[in-house]
């Protein structure tokens, strides 16, 4: 991976006021964890609920949508993609650092909130395994969402709007009552990963798939979406 482009994308994504505002979103889950701990309701079930009903279906996709769609989409909108396109690099080598940087930024901004949730929400039921699966779900979910929303930004003019419709109406609504739709929901797979640590408490619209397989599937989505971005950039007509 081209390190200069990775650093460029990181600076672009992190060095802006928007990143500070985005970093507040995971703290909402942290606030709930603090309330749980203070009220004595923190346990494995509370942790599972917090991850599967707030962190994974709402906070993670929202952050990945904003960051992932801007990683490549904003380069195209402001014309800086023209400078990257006028280099001898393979087109995949141009999009890969941007998507990796988007996933990295999403993970970094999620980490403080996630750490507080892991530390407080489980209470006396603290489990290293459950904590590890929660981290894996956020990492693989960030990669898959960032690549998918990056691809979306190369396909449509308003990726954030389309992405919100996907997250709210497909993942947040249809996939919750139509079992077959869960198989086409990235959020459902992130929940399947976190369920790997707490299977006894999980009944939140998770597809019948093991945690490891769900994590592998999210990684595969990230890889295919990144490859598609490279292909798309090669054929895209730049303004």
């Amino acid at each position: 991976m081209n390190r200069a482009l990775f650093r460029l994308a990181l600076r672009r994504l992190l060095l802006r006021r928007r990143s500070v505002l985005l970093a507040l979103a995971p703290l909402l889950a942290a606030f709930v964890a603090v309330v749980q701990a203070a009220g004595g309701t923190a346990d494995a079930k509370a942790f599972s609920s917090l991850m599967e009903q707030l962190f994974l279906p709402t906070i993670l996709p929202f952050m990945a949508l904003v960051i992932g769609s801007s990683a490549i989409g904003e380069e195209r909108d402001d014309g800086t993609i023209l400078y990257l396109a006028s280099t001898p690099l393979a087109r995949l080598a141009i999009v890969l650092p941007a998507i990796v940087a988007a996933a990295f930024t999403t993970i970094v901004l999620c980490l403080p909130g996630l750490a507080i949730v892991i530390a407080l929400s489980q209470g006396d039921d603290f489990s290293a395994s459950a904590s590890a699966w929660a981290i894996v779900s956020v990492v693989t979910g960030a990669c898959a969402y960032s690549a998918a929303f990056g691809a979306l930004s190369l396909r449509v003019k308003r990726p954030v709007v389309i992405g919100l419709i996907y997250v709210l109406f497909w993942e947040g609504s249809i996939a919750t009552f139509a079992p077959s739709a869960r198989w086409l929901s990235l959020g459902a797979y992130t929940r399947a990963v976190v369920a790997g640590g707490l299977p006894e408490f999980t009944d939140y619209n998770v597809p019948a798939i093991g945690a490891l397989a769900a994590a592998a599937l999210l990684a595969a989505v990230a890889a295919v979406a990144t490859w598609w971005c490279g292909r798309r950039l090669a054929h895209l007509e730049l303004p």
Binding site: G79, T80, L82, Y83, T87, P88, L89, L238
Partner: protein, 318 residues
């Protein structure tokens, strides 16, 4: 038309290229070839200059026809970008990078052996060495334009595609950049520079390609195109008061006007020989005892010049 392979001195071949977006035709059957030296790409706003440059740069596919840069199709062979430098008309730059960081980044991406040294040289070439450590987000339009030029030069390309490179520059900077472009051409590089201002192109390009509404209407030495424009039929409006009709008769009788009419008390004269009319008008008026208060050209704007070139091209059966 030359074969589309790299050979001889041809750096860029644009062969029968058309480009349309939906129902809008941006370029129609345009063909030209570039050899080392500076060539101006002239046309009014919306004539198709930027589309032509985007196609040359490999940022778009032609709807029909073919573009070859240094013998390669830039859409399929990105390695050709080691040998091309491009100044885009869009203003977007990474605002958080300093000028040095930006030019060095582009040098590195284009696999220049010593990016810091190459960046320093390129920035010095465009006169930005003193602002090298400043962030481009705080730059004026002229400084941004020079950063764009520096990143296009940093890998010493054989072909330079410059879209309106003088935009936003003050007169001193313009003179500097014009000199630079001429020098690049003299060094044997191929430079295609777009502009909508003929006299600007004239100062740096001995050869010009003129586009009007997506069609190539003139191509050749800049001086010849200028003469063609200068010698085109012109229309003048003359304020001659009550002597207008008498003056009109004399102008036609002397063969100085190809058409004359009186419009709202003004004499509107069409002539194919502006120089002679200019010399003879006042002596004729004196002979008639007429008073000429004002003489002004009509239809001398750029649009009219390009319209004339279009009609001239059609007359040649283009």
């Amino acid at each position: 038309m030359a074969a589309l392979s790299e050979g001889g001195r041809l750096t860029l071949v644009f062969q029968g290229v058309s480009k349309w977006y939906g129902d809008t035709v941006a370029l129609a059957e345009v063909s030209f070839e570039l050899e080392p030296g500076v060539t101006g790409l002239l046309g009014h706003n919306g004539a198709g200059k930027s589309t032509a440059l985007a196609l040359c740069a490999g940022f778009a596919d032609p709807s029909t026809g073919a573009v070859r840069v240094l013998g390669l199709d830039p859409r399929r062979k990105p390695e050709v970008y080691r040998r091309i430098g491009i100044v885009h008309d869009r203003d977007g730059l990474w605002p958080f990078l300093t000028a040095r960081e930006l030019v060095e980044l582009m040098a590195g991406l284009r696999e220049v052996p010593d990016p810091p040294r190459a960046a320093a040289e390129a920035l010095a070439t465009v006169g930005l060495e003193d602002a090298a450590e400043r962030r481009v987000g705080g730059f004026s339009k002229g400084m941004r334009q020079r950063v764009k030029l520096a990143q296009a030069l940093v890998h010493t390309p054989e072909l330079l595609l410059l879209d309106e490179p003088l935009n936003g520059l003050d007169p001193v900077q313009r003179r500097h950049v014009v000199e630079l472009i001429r020098r690049l051409g003299a060094e044997g590089r191929t430079v295609l520079v777009s502009s909508h201002v003929l006299h600007e192109v004239e100062r740096m390009a001995p050869r010009v390609v003129v586009l009007v509404n997506g069609r190539l209407v003139a191509e050749g030495e800049t001086g010849a195109i200028r003469d063609l424009i200068r010698d085109r039929p012109r229309t003048l409006r003359i304020a001659a008061g009550s002597s207008a009709q008498a003056l009109a008769r004399e102008l036609v009788g002397e063969g100085l006007a190809s058409g004359v009419r009186v419009d709202n008390g003004f004499l509107v004269v069409e002539t194919g020989d502006m120089d002679t009319l200019g010399r003879r008008l006042m002596p004729l008026a004196r002979t008639l005892g007429a008073t000429v208060d004002r003489v002004e050209p009509l239809g001398d704007d750029l649009e009219s010049v390009y319209t004339y070139l279009t009609e001239h091209a059609r007359g040649r059966g283009r």
